[in-house]
């Protein structure tokens, strides 16, 4: 997709700029520990992008920094160096680079990394994100939507589902901050989410519905794990949601035009 100045790297840079509020507030609260973690994930993702550029002539992308940021923020906290490097290598290589780089991936590499770490090391505790980081997701989402790099329908559908769940009196309140943050950071990814309008609505609703379900019935886990699992499942379902959207559109068109 190249339209004027809008090539792939421009989208990646705008996304990076949009998530800056979250990143900065997270760094402010996390201090040097958070900074060193971010540097490590940036380094590992960067090395893989560099290797794929050198060996397979695949242009590197600033989206690698986005993955690194999401992993640094959401990965389980007690992992040692080897486990973290293994997880992020798996996510970046298997979910993004072997598919041909950012823009051709089916799943968000950060989601895959986090799910891999969660299943691989179930004993490690998930992070407790400070509340202001979740508040920072709101300006991040607004900036992303204004720049047109975060799909609006998915965010709106997610919010709508959350509002419905709250209105119905379901116990979703404790997970709302993390659910919103992950919605902005992982689910509303312009590449790995549904790309038709109706598909986007269904994608956001599916994520919201899964979060509600997990909040009600998944005991002994942390909100981050619920959100990552819901993001993974919603992202896996995105192609079929697009397919459904296109099929219904064709059906309606056939009904109208005969």
């Amino acid at each position: 997709m190249i339209r004027g100045i809008w090539d792939r790297e421009m989208v990646a840079l705008m996304l990076l700029a949009a998530v800056m509020p979250m990143a900065l507030i997270w760094l402010w609260y996390g201090g040097t520990a958070a900074l060193s973690r971010l540097l490590l994930t940036l380094l590992v993702a960067g090395i893989w992008h560099l290797l794929f550029m050198l060996i397979r002539a695949q242009p590197p992308s600033f989206a690698g920094a986005l993955t690194a940021l999401a992993v640094a923020m959401l990965a389980p906290v007690e992992l040692n160096l080897f486990q973290l490097v293994l997880g992020i290598s798996f996510g970046v290589v298997m979910a993004e680079l072997v598919m041909g780089g950012w823009g051709r991936n089916v799943l968000n590499p950060a989601t895959v990394t986090l799910a891999f770490l969660g299943f691989g090391f179930p004993a490690a505790a998930w992070p407790d994100l400070p509340l202001p980081v979740a508040w920072a997701a709101i300006p991040a989402a607004l900036m992303g939507m204004l720049a047109g790099v975060i799909p609006v329908h998915i965010l709106l559908a997610g919010l709508l589902t959350a509002a419905l769940a709250l209105g119905a009196g379901l116990p979703v309140e404790p997970i709302l901050p993390v659910a919103g943050l992950v919605l902005v950071l992982l689910v509303a990814d312009p590449v790995a989410s549904a790309s038709t309008r109706a598909g986007g609505w269904m994608n956001g609703q599916l994520y919201g519905a899964l979060m509600t379900l997990f909040a009600m019935y998944w005991e002994q886990t942390s909100p981050v794990q619920m959100a990552v699992s819901a993001a993974l499942l919603a992202s896996l379902a995105a192609p079929i949601l697009d397919e459904i959207a296109i099929a219904t559109w064709l059906q309606r068109r056939r009904g109208r035009l005969g």
Binding site: N80, Q83, F90, M94, V98, G100, F119, G120, P122
Partner: protein, 220 residues
Amino acid sequence: MSRTAILSTLVDPLIRQNPVTLQILGICSALAVTTSVATALVMSASLTVVIVMAALMISLIRHHIPNAIRLIIQIIIIASLVIVIDQCLQAYLPDISRKLSVFVSLITTNCLVLGRTESFSRLNPPLPAMLDALGNGLGYSLVLIVIGAIRELFGAGSLLGYQVLTTVDQGGSFTPLNLMLLAPSAFFLLGGLVWAIRTVVPEQTEELEHTPPEMEANRE
């Protein structure tokens, strides 16, 4: 049959024509039984015995098999062999037999076995048929044992039951990767193995189904 032909019938299926990594046959059992080297070994041995015996029998009666019901006859022969193997395992290796559960019986429907009897043993004399079956059985075994070894080593820190890496629970420094003991890891490992083999042997690479559009670097 010349000597080189015999040798290539036997050796080709190990890497060059490997049934699992090139033809992607027999994946289901390759994923299910590779959590430890012991189960992988027993499964490989059972499959190799079944495929060689089936090749011999089908090759011996190849001129008498009516074409219309040849698949039924092949499956009857394979299934009888599998039942014998399964009973032997239950009698002599009850623990491993319990771990392998239904997967030994499922050798009957393993596409690898039926694929070789249908495409090779049915048309060739007994000796080459058995050699081809042995080669394919060994190729399957090779993949199973490699994946089983990786999964057991990183999932439990042991190999064939001997503790190689001391885990954190035992006072060591190795944290077992639980994911390795779950089925998805076998998919990842098998995919990685196929990737590695095709990097070394590029002629195995399939042709592209789509050609990506050419990118123009400087568009006006």
